[in-house]
């Protein structure tokens, strides 16, 4: 298992290869399509993170010292970014997640997608992922 830092580094390297926004967006769309589906029983309003435009469902499970996140979104671009966040944080231990610095967001040029004004639910999603981590770290 790679650390959060290592995974971020890989993602930054992946994105550095794209020549234009089209390649970048196509990659995000592909990631969105490939995201492991969330169990339907977790796609409920309690797990819904409301953005003004797109919606995100997030579920977290804690086992053997690690958090496994599953998620979904109704917009595919949002889902692509959700997939990256899961890629970075899922499978890590709670205290690592809680204190993780997600610098890669700036570096891969997705900062605007993750600004609160975008209202796509992603900012709240990160917050929610960290809240789960804080809650689970107390169980450690």
């Amino acid at each position: 298992m790679h650390t959060i830092k290592e995974i971020q580094k890989e993602i930054i390297e992946d994105f550095a290869m794209f020549e234009d926004w089209i390649q970048k967006y196509e990659y995000l769309i592909d990631l969105g399509k490939e995201l492991a589906p969330i169990d339907q029983k977790y796609k409920i309003s309690e797990n819904l993170i409301k953005g003004c435009q797109s919606r995100v469902w997030l579920h977290a499970e804690y086992a053997e010292g690690k958090i496994i996140y599953t998620a979904d979104s109704d917009a595919i671009m949002t889902k692509g970014i959700v997939a990256i966040l899961i890629n970075v944080l899922s499978g890590q231990n709670p205290s690592e997640i809680a204190t993780a610095k997600l610098d890669f967001i700036n570096e891969i040029g997705l900062k605007e997608q993750l600004s609160p004004t975008r209202a796509n639910g992603l900012v709240s999603m990160i917050k929610q992922m960290k809240l789960y981590a804080i809650a689970f770290s107390k169980q450690q």
Binding site: I22, C52, Q53, I76, T78, N120
Partner: protein, 404 residues
Amino acid sequence: MLDVSKIRSQFPILSRKVNGQNLVYFDNGATTQKPQIVIDAESKYYANQNSNVHRGVHFLSGLATDKFEESRNTIQNFIGAKHKHEIIFTKGTTDSINLVASGFKTFLNKGDEIIISEQEHHSNIVPWQICCEQSGSNLKVIPILDNGEMDMDFFYNLLSENTKLVAVSHISNALGTINNVEKIIEKSHSVGAKVLIDGAQAASHISLNMQKLDADFYCFSAHKMFGPTGVGILYGKEDILNALPPYQSGGEMIKEVSFSGTTYADLPHKFEAGTPNISGVVAFKSAIDFISNLEVNKIAKYEEELLQYATSELLKIEGVRIYGTSKKKSAIISFNLEGLHPYDIGMIVDKMGIAIRTGHHCAQPIMERFNIPGTVRISLAVYNTKEEIDLCINAIKKAKIMLS
């Protein structure tokens, strides 16, 4: 015929680039761009005329007051109001509606009814919910039909002697429907109800005459008609405005203040407490002059042409569904592509320099009505062109390919 390239040249922002592409601005329903004369009027005001209005005896205060009141005259003429003091300056449509809702609740008793429609912008829903809650009256809603028109038979059945106010939009911002407000006003008056028309999407697209229309209140925003943000109009009939209690209180709106009792100023000042957005009001006149020079009817004709073209081009894309297909429509097209989320489409076309709106357009009940999370909305203005529509259609096609 309008000389559109000449019109375009008056809007400096239209020549800027977005994401390296020429800007195609199709979000005019949210706000329009501003012509140079409006920008100039605002800066000239501050460079040359600035002072507070209706106060000082000095030269500049007189000049600023004259300019401010000249705007009121221009708007009175533009909408065919009987009296100049029937024009109240507000912050915008939302502010105008809140002003009326806040005062109107004092006229209402338990069991009275206010009627709105399913099509309304949140600005014409929430103030009435609060008004009803505070006065113990009931809010009734006219449903809309599949084509985006109001169900008029349902409306006629809702009307009764309990109806005290009917508040509906002239044009739906989310569907583009031009509502039959003449009929709504006539029928409402026949049961003694007052009528407020939310004209945010209509002013500058439809020629207005308040004396003919006979609405009791009419609200609109300067920023949606080439004017500055933060300025709006409440038109109200003189007798009703006189009866309506003040909204905000403080300076400017009083006749005499003493601790044994305060008397209010006459119209329109009774509703204009505090220092207003003077530069905005002054520049709004230039926006109206701009519109009047082009002539509203010619604007409407050209926009209709754009609407027809955009609609037919859009419908050539497989899987397009347009929401709002009424015969009488303004140049607003709300649509979805089968299986695709509006947000994704908006994100991709943005990269191609196309500014369109995605989401629920502050009209969530409509989205619920059609059971969709939102739509993509193209809203056109007089400076838009068929070439821009082609660019937009191509961008949408590109988005469709990328997303499917």
